[in-house]
């Protein structure tokens, strides 16, 4: 009984935090999406679903939605595949020190703040003239690329940067998951004559189900919310809005044009997308074996 009281007391601050900083803002955002809300006005009119109707006719919203989906799908797929392969390769080293060294190398970009990394990539690696990326291309005899000034290249550049910046976290999670799989299965498979790929395909991948589900879900959610690189690395959403995503459109609408009612409606769409994907993903990833 005493233990229960203690648990309640410990949990109260967490619940208060959740209510104040998570639930209340969501409810406030939902309420705001039904208003013609501008913080500079004292009276903000109730306009029902008008903000949501406006979304259907808004070309910039459509561009932002498509760009967001392209960015998330491509980046998450590459991220998961690459980090799983890297984790498997790292795990093949026998020495713990070597494994730790590689894990640390891949994790280093995650330690740097995304805003700072975005500035470095935007100002030193991607510039057309004197940018490191073009210097390397030129040294290989290839012509320069306008990485963040050409509408067809903007999203590719951002995806490359995001994978570099984010992959280390998933590599750590996958290596931890791989460490948890009992060695007996591999030994048994070896006795049965399985090769490296077969072991990976028939033992590692299925037994990594829980880690895989967690990594996919967290990566999906975080990528839908990515903002720093779109805000810092490219100039004003890129040429022809090629780098406009939902998060940057929400920021622009709320804080530059101060149309917070409409920005809240866009936020609600993003919230529903993330919620929907999370629910589907949770259902689809129910696993029997988990490490």
């Amino acid at each position: 009984m005493k233990n229960k009281k203690f648990v309640r007391i410990v949990l109260i601050p967490v619940f208060i935090h959740m209510i104040v900083f998570i639930i209340m803002p969501i409810v406030a955002g939902l309420g705001m999406s039904f208003l013609d809300y501008n913080p500079l006005r004292s009276i903000n009119e109730f306009i029902g679903f008008s903000n949501f109707e406006r979304l259907l006719a808004d070309d910039n919203f459509k561009i932002a939605l498509v760009n967001t989906l392209v960015f998330v799908i491509v980046t998450v797929c590459i991220n998961i595949i690459l980090s799983l392969v890297l984790a498997q390769l790292i795990n093949m080293f026998k020495s713990n020190k070597t494994r730790s060294l590689f894990r640390m190398i891949f994790f280093l970009p995650c330690v740097a703040p995304l805003v700072a990394s975005s500035v470095v990539w935007g100002k030193s690696i991607f510039p057309t003239v004197n940018g490191l990326a073009n210097m390397i291309l030129n040294a290989l005899g290839l012509s320069s690329v306008n990485w963040i000034g050409d509408p067809s290249m903007v999203m590719i550049s951002i995806i490359i940067f995001t994978i570099w910046a984010d992959i280390g976290y998933n590599v750590i999670l996958f290596t931890a998951g791989l460490d948890g799989i009992p060695k007996d299965y591999y030994e048994a498979a070896e006795l049965d004559g399985a090769n490296g790929f077969q072991k990976f395909r028939y033992i590692t991948v299925p037994l990594l189900g829980r880690t895989f589900a967690f990594v996919t879900l967290m990566t999906l959610i975080s990528h839908f919310q990515m903002f720093a690189q779109f805000s810092v690395m490219i100039l004003r959403n890129g040429p022809a809005n090629s780098g406009l995503v939902l998060t940057s459109y929400i920021y622009k609408t709320a804080f530059e044009t101060k149309d917070m009612g409409y920005a809240s409606a866009i936020s609600m769409v993003l919230f529903i997308i993330i919620l929907g994907i999370t629910m589907v993903q949770q259902k689809a990833n129910k696993v029997d074996w988990e490490y």
């Binding site: 007391i9 030193s124 510039p127 057309t128 306008n146 490219i234 022809a240 530059e256 044009t257």
Partner: protein, 425 residues
């Protein structure tokens, strides 16, 4: 359990004590004014020096400064003014924000004496956006001028035997002659006017210098006029036909801004304000008057006329209980010798006509001469959100220059439509 309760009680008392702490001046004889500004080494020092001088004359008042990085500053000012609680007593305020905040009652109106002084003796573009219902809600410090001056790279012009252009035709010729390309890549841009501010202010000035206008009396925009079409086509031709610059200043892709490229030796002429000079001297270690200069930017048409928006100003919090003391600080600033000292220390073009025309000012800031000569020709850009204004003009300009419209008529018709729906909705 008793221990836990005691801990909770202590935390509660501590929290309530912290919440209940009043301003630090409650127990002293002095009125302490808080001042919020954005971080800028030279400007911050100038404010502090002005405050020290003010405090020496007003021993009952003390000014405490808080300076924030620019990107955080705007949101901090916005949040504190909208919440109508806390914040500072005096704000360093970008004049354009006055359009948003003055109608909300978040700013205190400037007293009648100072208002009269400003209306009579300051340039109109510097206070236009601070006016609301015939009251003034800020004290303008500077004239933010985006047209009329340009920096030139002396070494590039000398190497090509190009003299400083005196009229529009000479500017266009000089820009073409200074441009050097290696295939599709620029070695030297002749005249890089493509940036967030310059396209808009060159376009509007080119219309006005032909005797035209872009805004009607009812506030709606009409760029699709004879003057508008001529100006827009001229600007586009400089990018597309003459190829003296590209669109990277609006689309991105370059590591350096246009004026920084001039200092780096890859651009010959760039229309920008004199605030760029210190960066050339300090960051690029160049010599003003030797490596680069600041000269007049010729007008396109016969008339000297240009649009200008606001500048930095000082405003008093409408909810401050110390607004009288804060207003005294603004009045102190308005004294000619103080304003002159401040404008020079901050390398600002003065908002006050008296200061701008003071020979002492040009003596101390000789590079400001091309701009001071034309300040009387400046007109307030208009009472609207200039960010949206610039965004739409830049959007249509980029699209027209990349072949997105069949004709200049189509482009400007679309611009009028976009502006009238975005700004005058």
């Amino acid at each position: 359990m008793k221990f836990l309760k005691a801990c909770l009680a202590c935390m509660l008392v501590f929290t309530l004590t912290a919440c209940g702490q009043g301003s630090s001046d409650e127990n002293s004889d002095k009125t302490v004014l808080t001042f919020w500004g954005h971080q800028n080494e030279a400007w911050n020092k100038a404010y502090e020096e002005m405050a020290a001088k003010f405090e020496a004359e007003n021993e009952d008042i003390e000014i405490k400064f808080e300076f924030f990085p620019y990107d955080q500053f705007e949101s901090k000012v916005q949040t504190s003014l909208l919440s109508q609680e806390g914040g500072a007593d005096i704000y360093e305020l970008w004049g354009g924000w006055g359009i948003d905040f003055a109608p909300t009652g978040a700013l205190a109106p400037i007293n009648d004496t100072l208002t009269k002084e400003i209306l009579d003796g300051y340039y109109e573009p510097t206070y236009g956006s601070l006016m609301f219902e015939e009251k003034l809600y800020g004290f303008p410090l500077e004239f933010n001028i985006e047209y009329g001056g340009m920096i030139i790279n002396d070494n590039i012009l000398e190497e090509k035997s190009i003299s400083v252009p005196q009229n529009w035709e000479e500017l266009r010729t000089a820009a073409k002659n200074a441009t050097v390309k290696d295939g599709d890549t620029f070695v030297t841009k002749g005249f890089d006017f493509v940036n967030w501010d310059s396209v808009t202010y060159m376009f509007t000035s080119m219309i006005m210098s032909q005797g035209g206008s872009y805004q009607n009396e009812d506030g709606t925009f009409t760029f699709n006029t004879e003057e508008g079409r001529k100006a827009f086509q001229e600007l586009t031709d400089m990018v597309v036909k003459d190829g003296v610059t590209d669109l990277s200043g609006l689309t991105g892709g370059e590591g350096l801004e246009g004026y920084q490229q001039l200092f780096a030796g890859t651009t010959a002429m760039v229309p920008r304000g004199p605030w760029t000079i210190s960066e050339g001297e300090l960051s690029f270690e160049l010599k003003y008057g030797e490596d680069f200069d600041y000269v007049s930017l010729p007008f396109y048409g016969e008339t000297k006329s240009f649009a200008a928006e606001t500048g930095w100003s000082l405003a008093v919090n409408g909810n401050s209980k110390k607004s009288d003391a804060a207003m005294r600080f603004l009045e102190f600033f308005a004294q000619e010798e103080n304003l002159l000292e401040f404008n020079v220390a901050c390398a600002q073009i003065p908002a006050s006509k008296e200061v701008a025309q003071d020979p002492e000012f040009i003596k101390k800031m000789p590079y400001a001469e091309p701009l001071v000569k034309i300040l009387d020709d400046g007109h307030f850009v208009g009472y609207f959100n200039t960010d949206t204004f610039k965004e739409k003009i830049n959007e249509v300009f980029t699209e027209y220059a990349t072949g997105g419209y069949a004709s200049v008529d189509d482009a400007l018709m679309d611009l009028d439509k976009k502006l009238n729906s975005a700004i005058n909705k």
